[in-house]
Every structure is written in structure tokens, then in C-alpha cells.
């Protein structure tokens, strides 16, 4: 505390030559700190490599939403209702009535039977004995398996098979309408009933690929295999997570090349890459220690951490090269770089971290995990790239080539910076503002179309042209089925779930819903009862009605499919098949159900929302829609507050935050135009974009303020700002962009959406800081007053 200035607090701008306490602490203990970091890295790195992919379904849904609470409460009752795979075996040429096709189908059926996880008693295909044809006769019923007795592949037995299929009521369900494919339907165990082991979706999905699709696709080239079902989807997602490793490699390579091009110094290239990777290891290791796995969302965080690490490392390398160019040795230039950068660097990183942490307020675990992972990562970047990086560089120093590069490059660059400094010119600034206002107007106009939820057909997690979604659309086009199911749970007194009044109420709700736009069809015990009552009355449609006679109802639902009645008969579902899963569709349907429940819930029956993928999505949409504005408010408040605390000026805050706001609005407009909805994946983008985007503004503004306080005119000050930090800021934007741009090629659709949007936000925030910030400064800042205030402070 030799410097009395410290007693009044250190303002890095007013005491530029001082040696802050932190600096002394770090630089006086270089060796011990490095050793400590080395040990820490070994320990966390060891944990990091043990981290496992984890596509836990529960973490992706809003567990506190009443729909989800209801669903989880009745989860055991509804088990297996939605957990199955459907394997469509399609012929390329001709139809299914060939001996070869039937043989392949038999082999596939057998193979599926022995797959681990399949509920064998529920397995259905043309070759299983539970697929039967039934005919009403004068004596009652007659029937048999669809495969005729004594089937031998001859033309006669194939013809008999065709007859049986037509009588079987399975056309459109197990057999496609055009007789060119049939389905092997396999219900799955969530938990193995013998071992109690949970189904390994990744492994199950791999087995389907190897033992079914690859094997029989190769054996019988006339056969195409299409597989859909929740387990397959999750399997494909897990596979998608693994492919992220490639992107990591590409990102590191690209960044390294770019960094070398920028610094022309091997140390200045490798050290920031190295320290950024260490930050990633620390982050992953800590996550593992905290008990987290890598889900499809948090697997992206290391990219962000790496990119943020590099972008801050660049500032250090840049500053050191400038100082070294003035003739300082390695350690002194490292100290000076640290001294100049640790406050804006920490401020930027802390605002990143707080930006991420606002995501914690969204009640969906994957987003919270993402927030925690990203927050941790950024915290580590503070240590690795502001401390470790500087320390290592203080031993190595910037190479002569690197220093020369900075100096030589100077003059040509300076002309460019001179031109760009006109962004703050009184003649140019109003034009910039006008453009910004027009951009704002366009953004506000287009963002009106912004939708909540997933907008694409099929499984929204995967790309529309992914194999899974192609399989899905094959099955939807050839069979009477929909991929979007909303399940309404009907709760009754124990053993009362089949009462006339309950069925009647369900039937009424179903008809109400079938008359609701977006609803394709519906199914419940009421339909089963009507259908079987009709069958029991010699197949006459005039008996297609729910009988008032409970004995007849009981007879009619004796063979009801599993999952429609729970073991205590106090819960029965209504399945509502939807045309799509757009947010409006879901909202209309759940509104209808809630209205019905308000009117008719009573002691006999309570209608509860919601299960099924559409039910979960409806809940998720609601949470997302409610969280969006709160989150925006929070993230902007936090960022503004941090800027204010640092720069003590509302005008400064405006200069930094307004360009961010413009980017946020343009980002929403782009989402609306390119058909990306606000969803679990894209909501965090807004927080990440703002949290990280503010870095540029902070770096630019802190330099600009420094030069203004030195008494320069605005344009000169901005010129000096660009000269000293402009290149680093542009480089930062490009590196961050590179960090996320590879996601665009991810097989997982929402990762691609996130990559696309973050790429836009990172680059555009950079443009905003360099182009719009000086224009705003022209109107908002009062350099004379700032000077006066600074002098008064002294």
C-alpha cells in the first residue's frame, strides 16, 4: 500500500502506472501458482475425460409445470403407452405378397424378439400369433392367425394371406394401405422386469441399426427399413452428441490457424489455445464432479468456453505485442498487459457469467445445467486466460516476428482505422443512427411473426431431412398414425375407470376436440367399447355406441389394449392425435381441454393435462413464453448494472447496451423469417448473445474513455481506440463466430439453430460495437464534462 491512491480505491484509468494488488500477488508468486494450476488441471482433466453423454428425457422438460407434475405423478400408470418402436419393412419393387419378403419379415420379427428391452408379449407383426383375422358367423366368431396354417410360401398360401389380411382390420395399422410395407411393432420396457436395469437407449438404437437395418437391408436388397419410436429418436440424439467431437477438432484447428495469422507468433498462438483448452477441462471436470453428464445442450458449452477464452487471450497477446514493441521485456510487457486488461477483462467475463446465470430462472433443467456449465466455464476463463495465460507468456514472451508484425502492420492498418474512425464523425454518425433506426423498425416488423415452440414436422430435435424424420414421414404417409400425441389423463375413483359416465364424458371430450382445428383424431377406452360392442353384435354398425349397460361395457373392454387402463382402474387416457406441434395448435387444444375440465370435472372423473410429446411441448412452450421477457429483462439489467458500476455513467451504459438491443431485435426478426421458434434451444441464445456480446462494447468503451480523458477529440480518441484494440475486437468476433459456426452442421436440429443464431449475434454485436457505439457516443458523450469529472475525482 505504498501508493496512497489505493486507499481511495484503484481506478485503473486514473492510476495507470500503479501496480494493483492483484498484479503484485500474481507476479510475485509465479512458480507456485503455475504448479498449483498444473496439479488442478491434472485432477480436473482426469475427471473431465470420464464425463458421459446423457440425453435424460426429464432434464429437457419443465418439471414444475402442472402438466408435467400430473404426467410424472401418473407415469407408472401410463407406462409403455408411448414407449415403442415401429419398424416398417417396405419393398422397393412389387408388393409384400412374395415368399422372399415374408421370409425377411419373419427373420426380422425373430431378431426383434430377442433384442434386449423388447416386451416380447406385446411384439406384433404379420408373423406373431397375436395378429389375427376375425369373422362373425352364425355360431359366433371364427378366426385365426393372419399367416395361414401350413404357410409354405406358395402362391396359394400367399393368396390366403392376402385374404386374411383384408379380414384382419390391420390395414393402415400393421399393413400399409398400398400393401407395399408392413410394420413390426415392438413395445419396450423402460426397466428390464428381470434385472431392473434401465433401458440403454443408445445401445438399443445401435442394435436396431446393426442387427436390423444394416443386416437385412444387405441381405434382401429389395427391402427398405424405416424405424421410428422414442427410443430410436433418443438413440439418434446420443449419436449426434458424439459427432460433436469432430466439430471440436475443427473449431480448434480453425482458431489456431486464425490466431497464428493474427499474431505471427507461435507462443502467442499456442498458449491461448492451450489455456482455453485447460479452461474447458476444468469446466468439464467440475461438471463431472458435480454429477452432471453431457446432454445435447451442455455439450455446446465447451465451445463457448473455448471461444471466450481465445477471445480474451487475444487481447492479452495483442497488448503484450504492443508493449514489447515499445522495448519492454517479457515479464514487464506481461505485467503491463495484465494491468491494462484485468479490469475490462474481468468485467466482460463477469457480465458473461451473469448473463448465463439469468438462465437459471427458466424452469427447465437442461437450460439450468447449461447456465451452470457456461457460468463455471467463464469463471474458469478468468483464471486461465487472465492469469495462467499471462503467467506463461511472462516466461516465453512474444516472438520477435510477432512484435515486428504488430509494428509493420501498423501503417497500413492505421489508414483503415482512420477511415473507420469516421463512424464517430458528426456528419456520419446521424446517418449511422438513421440506418440503425431503420434496422430497428424492420426488426420490430418482422419479429411480429416470431413463434413459440418447434415449427418443423416430425421429431423437432432432429433435422427435417435426417434419417429418422424421413422414416417418420414414410410411416405417417403410409399408415394411419400421427407423431404428435397429446394425452389427457382421466382420473376416477378406484375401479371406476370403465363406468358408463366416465366413458361418456371421454367421448364427449373427444368429439369436442375432433371438432377443434389441428386435431386429426383421438382414441380412448370409449372407442374400444363402441368398436367391440359393434363386433359383439355381429359386426353391425348400428350398435356402434357406448352401451348404458355396464355388463356390456365390461365385456367390451375386456381385451382393451394395455395402457388404456391402469392396474387399479382409476386412470384412463384420452389420446389426441394432432396435425402438427405448432404452438398455436397446442394452445388451442389445451385450452379446449381445460375449458372442458373446468365444466365437467367432478367426483366421478377429473380430466388432467397432460402427457404425450404434444403435452410436454405445450407445457414447455408455456414456460418458455413466460420466461422469455423476464429473462431478457434480467440479462439486460445485469449487463447494464455491471457497466454502470464500472463506468459510473448512464451515457456509457447507453452507448454499450443500445447496439446489443438492436442485435437482439434483429436476431428475433431473423428467427421469425427463417422459421426458428423460441424454444428450449433458442431461448438461451438470447442470454448468451447479450452476455458475450457485451464484451466488445466494454473493450471499445474502456479504451475510448481512456483516450477521451487524455483530452483527445472524439474522433481522435476513437481512432486511437481502434488502433489499440480494434483489431483484437474484430478478431474476437470472428473467433467466437468460428466457435459456434460448426454447430450449423450438427445432425441435431436445435444445435444447428443455436449455432446459426449465435454466429449471427456474435458477429453482429461486434459490428454494433465498432460501428454504432461511436455514433451513439457522438450524441451521448460529453467529453468536456467527463474530463471535468475525472479531474474533480483527482
Amino acid at each position: 500500500m505504498s501508493n496512497p491512491m489505493h486507499d481511495r480505491g484503484e481506478h485503473y484509468l486514473t492510476t495507470p502506472k500503479a501496480e494493483p494488488f492483484l498484479e503484485r500477488l500474481i507476479f510475485n508468486n509465479r512458480a507456485p501458482i503455475l504448479v498449483a494450476f498444473f496439479i488442478l488441471t491434472l485432477f480436473l482433466g482426469y475427471n473431465a475425460v470420464k464425463i458421459q453423454p446423457d440425453a435424460s428425457f426429464e432434464r429437457m422438460i419443465p418439471l414444475e409445470h402442472p402438466y408435467i407434475v400430473n404426467m410424472l405423478e401418473h407415469r407408472d400408470d401410463l407406462e409403455n403407452l408411448g414407449n415403442f418402436v415401429r419398424i416398417a419393412v417396405a419393398v422397393e419393387e412389387g408388393d409384400i405378397f412374395t415368399a422372399e419378403y415374408m421370409e425377411t419379415l419373419q427373420q426380422i420379427t425373430d431378431e426383434v424378439f430377442y433384442l434386449n428391452g423388447v416386451d416380447r408379449s406385446g411384439l406384433k407383426s404379420l408373423w406373431t400369433s397375436n395378429v389375427r383375422w376375425v369373422e362373425v358367423t352364425e355360431q359366433g366368431f371364427q378366426g385365426g392367425t393372419v399367416i395361414p396354417d401350413g404357410y409354405d410360401g406358395s402362391r396359394e398360401s400367399l393368396e390366403q394371406l392376402r385374404q386374411n389380411i383384408l379380414r384382419s382390420n390391420e390395414v393402415g395399422r400393421l399393413i400399409s394401405d398400398n400393401f407395399r410395407s408392413t410394420i413390426v411393432y415392438a413395445p419396450l420396457y423402460e426397466k428390464n422386469p428381470e434385472t431392473g436395469e434401465a433401458l440403454d437407449y443408445g445401445e438399443f438404437s445401435r442394435q436396431l441399426e446393426e442387427k436390423i437395418r444394416d443386416k437385412y437391408g444387405a441381405e434382401n436388397p429389395n427391402v427398405n427399413i424405416h424405424i421410428v419410436g422414442f427410443a430410436k429418436k433418443v438413440g439418434d440424439l446420443i449419436e449426434g452428441i458424439a459427432s460433436i467431437a469432430w466439430f471440436a477438432g475443427i473449431t480448434i484447428l480453425l482458431t489456431t490457424l486464425l490466431l497464428f495469422w493474427y499474431s505471427r507468433c507461435i507462443a502467442g498462438t499456442l498458449v491461448p489455445v492451450f489455456t482455453s483448452i485447460i479452461a474447458v477441462f476444468w469446466q468439464l471436470g467440475t461438471l463431472k464432479l458435480l454429477g452432471y453428464g453431457l446432454d445435447p445442450y451442455s455439450v455446446l458449452v465447451p465451445f463457448l468456453v473455448f471461444a471466450i477464452g481465445i477471445s480474451h487471450g487475444v487481447q492479452i497477446v495483442n497488448a503484450m505485442a504492443v508493449e514489447a514493441g515499445k522495448g519492454f521485456d517479457a515479464i514487464t510487457s506481461a505485467r503491463l498487459a495484465f494491468r491494462a486488461l484485468y479490469i475490462p477483462g474481468m468485467l466482460a467475463l463477469i457480465s458473461d457469467a451473469f448473463g448465463f446465470l439469468t438462465l437459471v430462472f427458466i424452469e427447465i433443467d437442461v437450460i439450468r445445467d447449461l447456465a451452470i456449465a457456461a457460468g463455471l466455464g467463464v469463471a474458469f476463463v478468468i483464471i486461465t486466460n487472465l492469469v495462467l495465460h499471462v503467467l506463461i507468456m511472462s516466461y516465453i514472451g512474444i516472438s520477435k516476428g510477432g512484435v515486428r508484425h504488430v509494428q509493420n502492420h501498423g501503417e497500413k492498418q492505421d489508414r483503415k482505422w482512420r477511415v473507420m474512425s469516421y463512424f464517430s464523425h458528426p456528419g456520419v454518425a446521424p446517418i449511422s443512427l438513421l440506418i440503425a433506426v431503420i434496422g430497428l423498425g424492420l426488426g420490430l416488423y418482422y419479429k411480429q411473426d416470431l413463434k413459440v415452440g418447434d415449427l418443423d414436422e416430425g421429431a423437432p430435435e432432429l433435422r427435417p431431412d435426417s434419417r429418422y424424420n424421413k422414416d417418420n414421414s414414410f410411416i405417417i404417409n403410409n399408415y394411419s398414425t400421427s407423431a404428435d400425441v397429446l394425452v389427457v389423463m382421466v382420473k376416477t375413483q378406484e375401479e371406476q375407470c370403465t363406468q358408463y359416465n366416465v366413458l361418456r364424458a371421454m367421448d364427449r371430450l373427444q368429439w369436442e376436440l375432433q371438432n377443434t382445428p389441428g386435431v386429426q383424431s383421438s382414441a380412448s377406452l370409449a372407442d374400444v367399447s363402441k368398436m367391440v360392442t359393434k363386433a359383439l353384435n355381429e359386426g353391425s354398425w348400428k350398435w356402434y355406441e357406448i352401451s348404458r349397460n355396464q355388463t356390456i361395457i365390461n365385456a367390451s373392454i375386456r381385451e382393451a389394449p394395455a395402457g388404456l387402463i391402469n392396474t387399479t382402474c382409476d386412470l384412463t387416457p384420452v389420446l389426441v392425435f394432432l396435425e402438427d406441434h405448432k404452438a398455436e395448435t397446442l394452445q388451442t387444444v389445451v385450452d379446449r381441454v381445460e375449458e372442458f375440465a373446468d365444466n365437467f370435472n367432478n367426483d366421478e372423473h377429473t380430466f388432467l393435462l397432460a402427457a404425450g410429446n404434444a403435452g410436454i411441448e405445450a407445457a414447455t412452450n408455456e414456460v418458455i413464453a413466460n420466461a422469455k421477457d423476464i429473462m431478457l429483462l434480467l440479462v439486460y439489467s445485469v449487463v447494464s448494472l455491471l457497466c454502470f458500476l464500472t463506468f459510473r455513467s448512464i451515457r456509457a451504459v447507453a452507448c454499450i447496451v443500445i447496439p446489443l438491443g438492436l442485435t437482439s431485435i434483429l436476431c428475433e426478426a431473423i428467427m421469425a423469417v427463417s422459421g426458428i421458434g423460441i424454444k428450449v434451444a433458442t431461448l438461451p441464445v438470447i442470454a448468451l448473445g447479450v452476455g458475450i456480446g457485451v464484451d466488445y462494447g466494454i473493450y471499445i468503451y474502456s479504451k475510448l474513455e481512456k483516450f477521451l480523458l487524455e483530452g483527445k477529440t472524439l474522433q481522435d480518441a476513437y481512432y486511437e481506440t481502434l488502433r489499440s484494440t480494434g483489431k483484437a475486437v474484430i478478431f474476437t468476433g470472428v473467433t467466437l463466430g468460428l466457435g459456434v459456426v460448426t454447430w450449423i452442421f450438427s445432425p441435431i436440429k436445435f444445435q444447428a439453430d443455436m449455432g446459426f443464431l449465435l454466429f449471427f449475434m456474435f458477429l453482429w454485436n461486434m459490428v454494433g460495437a465498432i460501428w454504432l457505439l461511436p455514433a451513439l457516443a457522438r450524441f451521448l458523450l460529453r467529453p468536456d464534462k467527463m474530463l471535468a469529472k475525472a479531474r474533480a475525482a483527482k
Binding site: R504, N515, S540, E545, R548, N602
Partner: protein
């Protein structure tokens, strides 16, 4: 204070009021007998069990109380206003304006404006009361007979009495459950004379357009109360009703008396129709069994039908072609007065419940999937 004073003064009234307020705000779903059919665009695509002409107009009925009518040969449909939302099974118009529709819960509906508005004339509770009263008077009659009968006749009569009591008990048990049994067909001669038939041998007659109904079951020889599935009038004026267990009943006096014919078949007959020739009858049912009579059912010939699908209904076109329709998309056509048929199975395999010949040779089918236009063979138009 004022409230408390009033409450103390009015005592129980206040208590009653507060109890009303405290009751949960939920209600049971009203019975389908009290729920008007919901206006819907889906009716022409939903299950329709019968269709007929009311003058030029086509009227069809089906599930959820749907009645739809079309004035342009089935291209556009308007939904009639119906006070109930249960499955309707049959419709018939005695005149262009006056029509009756019947269905589940023992419902008889009447329209006096060509099918646009319908009122409930009879429900299952009333129908079963009628039937029970009629059984009780049968029992009373029989008991009187037994008293006056010779000893050797008594045993047989007492057996018959036991049967009646047994049936009565069943009816009373059914009545306790509610209006459980459906009517399955209706026939009206004009705006006042008609019959409805239904499950467990129900048959009611009206002579005043449905103001009053009379249980007509005692006049038919159906002691085991098998379902009556269909009733119609054939050319020449005779009435024919058919049903479960191969029942065939004929009346040549406008329905006053009925005679049971010997049946060529022991299974269910779902429909009966004339061929357009005097006293010629076609009847058909389970598994495509089809029979033809030229003498009001005194003798029958088997009509060969290889299709094997249950036949539900049929119609005669102006040019004499006969079309039968049935389950599994079966459409059968005859150009020789029903002596033989050509079978066609529609690709959709959906059950067909009724057929209305359109102008030209085209057909309008109704059934499982609602309304379908086809050519004369039942194929979809190109």
C-alpha cells in the same frame, strides 16, 4: 351487520343460499338424451347408418345425433337441428316433409320440415314403459284365460305365463338401468301411419304421426324377443319385417296382423327390400346370405353371393337395377331383378350401411366413413 340481520330473520333461506354458493362449480356431463347434437362439419365424414330420399332431398343419419341433408344430389350437406346426440340408426320419410329417425336410447325423432328440425317424440324410458304395460296386460289376459281354461290346457298356458313373467322381469331390470335398447329401423307410409322396430323384438306402431305409440310386439310371433332389424313395404303393399335368427314377418293388411314365414336361414337378417315387382322380396344378412322370394316369402331361393361379407341394405334404381351394400366395402349390383349379383369390394374396405341411387347410374353410399360417391359398380369416380 345488515346481512347477518337478514340471515337471522330469514334463517333457513340464508343457509340454503350459502350452501348453493359452497357447492363445487362442476357438473356431470348431461345425458346424451338431453344433449343437442353438436353442429359440426365432420358429420358427412363420420359414421352414417342410413340414408333416404325426402322428395328430391337426400337425408342421412348417423352417430352423435347427426342428421344431414342435401338438395344437390349429395354434393353439399346441411346439418339438421337434433335435440339428442346418440347414434341414429335409420330414417324414413312418409311424405316430403314428414320424416322419422330412430336410434339408441330408444329414441324416435320427428321432422315436419323435410329434415331440418327434429323433435323428440319418444325415448327409451317411454318405450320400455309402453312395452312393460303391454306385457302386464298380456299377463292379465293370460291369467284370465288360465282361470277359465280346461285343466289339460292349463299347464301349457302356465308355461307361457312363466315366459311372460320372465320377459317382464328382464324389461324391468333394463328399465332400471335406463333407456338401454336401440331402435334399428323405421318405416312410415304417410304423415301418420308407421312402425319402428328394434332390439329384443321391440316394435311400436303409430296411427297419428307419432303422437301416440302402441306396443305391437304381441302381434308378432317372436316369443324369444329376437332383434327386429329391418321393416319395409314391398310393391303390392305388403309389409315385411326381418331380424335375428332368420325371422321373417309379413303383413298384408297394413300392419294390423302379422304372419311369421318359414325362414331359409337361421342367422341374422339385417335388411329387407322389394325389387320393384309385385310381391317380390329380397332379404339379406350375415356373411352375405341373400334370399329372394316372388310370393311374399312363402318360398325362397338362395341368391348366390361369393363375396361373403355381411350385407346391410340395398336400393332399387329407377331403371330397375338393384344395389346391395355391406361390410368390408361390399357393393353388389344386379340387372336381373335380384336373381344374381356382381360383387365389388371397395378399396377402402369401409363398411357401407345404405345406398341412394343418384341421377344417371351413379350411387351415393353412406357408412363407416360417411358419404361416398361411386359409379354404378361402387367404384370411386375417376
Amino acid at each position: 351487520m345488515a346481512n347477518r340481520f337478514i340471515c337471522e330473520t330469514l334463517g333457513s333461506a340464508c343457509l340454503g343460499f350459502s350452501m348453493v354458493l359452497a357447492a363445487p362449480a362442476a357438473f356431470a356431463v348431461p345425458d346424451i338424451l338431453e344433449t343437442p347434437s353438436r353442429p359440426t362439419l365432420l358429420a358427412p365424414e363420420s359414421l352414417l347408418n342410413d340414408a333416404t330420399r325426402a322428395g328430391e332431398r337426400i337425408v342421412a343419419v348417423g352417430e352423435r345425433g347427426h342428421v344431414i341433408f342435401s338438395d344437390d344430389e349429395g354434393h353439399t350437406w346441411v346439418q339438421g337441428a337434433v335435440p339428442v346426440s346418440l347414434t341414429l340408426n335409420a330414417v324414413d320419410f312418409g311424405t316430403e316433409q314428414h320424416g322419422w329417425a330412430v336410434g339408441h336410447s330408444g329414441v324416435v325423432l320427428h321432422s315436419s320440415d323435410g329434415g331440418e328440425n327434429w323433435t323428440l317424440q319418444l325415448d327409451g324410458n317411454q318405450a320400455s314403459t309402453l312395452a312393460i304395460e303391454s306385457k302386464q296386460s298380456q299377463i292379465a289376459e293370460l291369467e284370465e284365460q288360465i282361470e277359465q281354461a280346461e285343466d289339460d290346457e292349463k299347464t301349457d298356458l302356465e308355461w307361457a305365463l312363466d315366459d311372460l313373467f320372465f320377459t317382464l322381469e328382464n324389461m324391468q331390470a333394463d328399465q332400471d338401468v335406463g333407456p338401454v335398447n336401440p331402435f334399428l329401423d323405421v318405416w312410415f307410409e304417410d304423415d301418420s301411419h308407421g312402425f319402428v322396430v328394434g332390439a329384443y323384438g321391440m316394435i311400436l306402431r303409430t296411427q297419428d304421426g307419432g303422437e301416440n305409440w302402441e306396443d305391437w310386439a304381441p302381434n308378432l310371433d317372436n316369443p324369444q324377443n329376437f332383434h327386429l332389424n329391418s321393416i319395409t313395404q314391398v310393391t303390392g303393399g305388403a309389409l315385411v319385417a326381418v331380424g335375428e335368427a332368420g325371422q321373417i314377418h309379413v303383413s298384408v293388411d297394413g300392419g294390423d296382423t302379422w304372419e311369421r314365414r318359414e325362414s331359409p336361414y337361421e342367422g341374422s337378417l339385417f335388411g329387407v327390400m322389394g325389387t320393384g315387382q309385385v310381391n317380390e322380396v329380397l332379404t339379406f344378412g350375415l356373411r352375405g346370405n341373400t334370399f329372394r322370394s316372388t310370393d311374399l316369402g312363402r318360398s325362397w331361393t338362395v341368391v348366390p353371393n361369393e363375396g361373403g361379407a355381411t350385407i346391410n341394405n340395398g336400393a332399387v334404381a329407377d331403371d330397375g337395377r338393384i344395389t346391395l351394400v355391406g361390410n368390408g366395402g361390399a357393393v353388389l349390383m344386379s340387372t336381373n331383378g335380384g336373381e344374381s349379383f356382381r360383387v365389388y369390394f371397395r378399396n377402402d374396405r369401409e363398411g357401407v350401411m345404405a345406398v341412394v341411387p343418384l341421377q344417371g347410374t351413379d350411387l351415393l353410399l353412406v357408412g363407416e366413413g360417411g358419404v361416398k360417391f361411386t359409379d354404378a359398380r361402387g367404384r370411386n369416380p375417376n
